[in-house]
């Protein structure tokens, strides 16, 4: 099993979810994260005092998939998340051992 992890722009989440579903995967987990990278943050001004905020809001998407589907799914996520401008994020794949579905105790590919 693999875990496909993506850091994306928040407003692309719906597109990514749709693409994942279209790819045939019926579940995913998202987390609100703050990213730091090439994309510049922003400046806030309160009573003339400027604060530079270097972190940018991002969403992390995590998807468990079968080994064979992982590269294709990653590719699909990359395409759905792309706007072409800086800060679009990253997608990577991590190895996973032994997945279980809590409700049933099913393991492996049946668990997802």
């Amino acid at each position: 099993m693999k875990l496909v992890v993506a850091i994306i722009k928040p407003f692309k989440l719906d597109d990514v979810k749709a693409a994942v579903q279209a790819y045939g995967v019926q579940g995913l987990t998202t987390t609100v994260v703050q990213g730091f990278g090439r994309q510049r943050g922003h400046t806030e001004v309160y009573r003339g005092a400027e604060y530079t905020v270097e972190f940018v809001p991002k969403v992390k998407v995590e998807i468990l998939v079968d080994d064979a589907e992982a590269p294709g799914l990653a590719q699909c996520v990359v395409e759905a998340a792309r706007t072409g401008s800086i800060g679009d994020g990253k997608v990577w794949i991590m190895p996973v051992e032994d997945v279980q579905r809590v409700r049933t105790g099913e393991a492996g590919i049946d668990a997802i």
Partner: protein, 410 residues
């Protein structure tokens, strides 16, 4: 006439109450937008308190309330730049207090429009819109109806602003959103309220302030004020029940936002009526307003205009309901300055004048507001609309360099 301390005491308090309504409105609306746009909404409202008050002192009061009772179209400039107030009395209160009381109405009327144009107008466009609107829309309309202008002389009644405030703002709002276009993603993308507790707080403040608005419009602490007070209360309550009843009859839950919206709809509808009706009339008017405004809020989906926070559904529709129903329910026994409506045997003449007043104000406000917006669109360097990127990132950060909330401390 001399100053009466009791009347003055009440109008002082009432003026403070109405002033509070604009922050209340800001919170009411602010809670309904997404978190990334909350400050832009608050800012449009608070800024209106700043700009319109100064304009009112400089010229608009005089344009609206000069030539009092002339049956005409516009005031004069006798009181421009705060002249000629010293020692003057209006009925039984200081004239300058009357000016302040009316100032709060001039502030909140354009502020009502911010709910319709939410989340997409550039702040600088709002600055221009509100300035011009106050002069060319609000001041003349207030003259026609509140200052004994031509509509008042014909016999139209408006105790506290059904036409001047709500129909006026509602029609202007409709024009503004047509000029502005829909929010990016509307209606497909969900745009749920970010903080209903804020909206409910705003509702409470509005309800509270509305007593000043309506009962204060008696300009005295007398039985008309008391009647206006009770009517305001009962209409808000009944409209809440009317709105929630529709929600239940449609098969859904009674919602908190529905309760709040219903109360506001009732407050809107009773505004023109409150000092002219009695008995159970406020309850009937409220029930109708609550139910109809609830239904009216769905029209935008059918017709495709993005009235973001339902200014048309609540203020335009509610203002029309109240102004027109006054033609039915008006009761001269309640207020000798009023007259009898259809149900009290007064015939259809008041009703006709009410319909005329509504139509005139709605058309005037709609047309002039639309023209202003189109002109601003051409004239202002950046136009009147925020860019797509600004809408996505949030107007707070992009137009005001601020964020509304920052709960995660380091």
């Amino acid at each position: 006439m001399d100053i009466n301390s009791g009347d003055t005491a009440w109008v002082l308090a009432a003026t403070a109450l109405v002033l509070l309504m604009t922050p209340g409105l800001a919170l009411f609306y602010g809670g309904m937008v997404r978190a990334k746009h909350v400050l832009a909404m608050l800012m449009q409202n608070f800024f209106t308190m700043g700009l319109v008050a100064v304009l009112w002192a400089v010229a608009c009061y005089s344009l609206a309330f000069g030539n009092l009772g002339d049956g005409g179209w516009l005031g004069d400039l006798d009181h421009a730049f705060m002249r000629n107030f010293n020692g003057e009395v209006f009925n039984t209160i200081p004239l300058v207090l009357f000016m302040a009381f009316q100032m709060t109405f001039a502030v909140i009327t354009p502020a009502l429009m911010t709910g319709a144009i939410a989340d997409r107008m550039r702040f600088s466009a709002w600055v221009w819109l509100v300035a011009i609107w106050s002069i060319v829309v609000y001041a003349p309309v207030a003259h026609w109806v509140f200052a004994g202008g031509w509509l008042a002389e014909r016999g139209a009644l408006d105790f506290a602003g059904g036409t001047v405030v709500h129909v006026n703002a509602g029609a202007g709002a409709l024009a503004a959103i047509l000029a502005l276009g829909v929010r990016r993603g509307w209606p497909g993308t969900p745009m749920p309220p970010h903080s209903l507790p804020l909206t409910l707080l705003g509702t409470g403040i509005l309800w509270f302030g509305w007593f000043g608005f309506n009962a204060g419009s008696a300009l005295a602490a007398n039985d008309v004020a008391a009647t206006a007070f009770v009517n305001t209360f009962l209409a808000a309550s009944a409209a809440m029940l009317g709105w929630l009843a529709v929600e239940r009859l449609r098969g859904g839950h009674a919602t908190t936002l529905g309760a709040a919206s219903g109360a506001v709809a009732g407050l809107v509808a009773i505004t023109p009526c409150c000092g002219f009706v009695g008995g159970m009339a406020p309850i009937y008017i409220g029930l109708v307003a609550g139910a109809v405004c609830c239904l009216a809020c769905s029209l935008k989906f059918r017709f495709g205009y993005d009235d973001s926070l339902d200014v048309i559904g609540v203020h335009l529709v509610g203002g029309i309901i109240g102004s027109v129903l006054l033609g039915l329910f008006a009761d001269a026994a309640v207020n000798s300055a009023g007259t009898d409506g259809v149900f009290l045997g007064g015939g259809w003449s008041l009703f006709g004048e009410q319909v005329l007043a509504v139509a005139v104000v709605a058309v005037y406000s709609f047309v002039v507001t639309y023209v202003i917006c189109i002109v601003l669109k051409t004239v202002l360097p950046g136009g009147i609309r925020a860019t797509e990127q600004e809408e996505i990132t949030g107007l707070d950060l992009t137009l005001h360099s601020e964020v509304g909330y920052s709960f995660t401390d380091r």
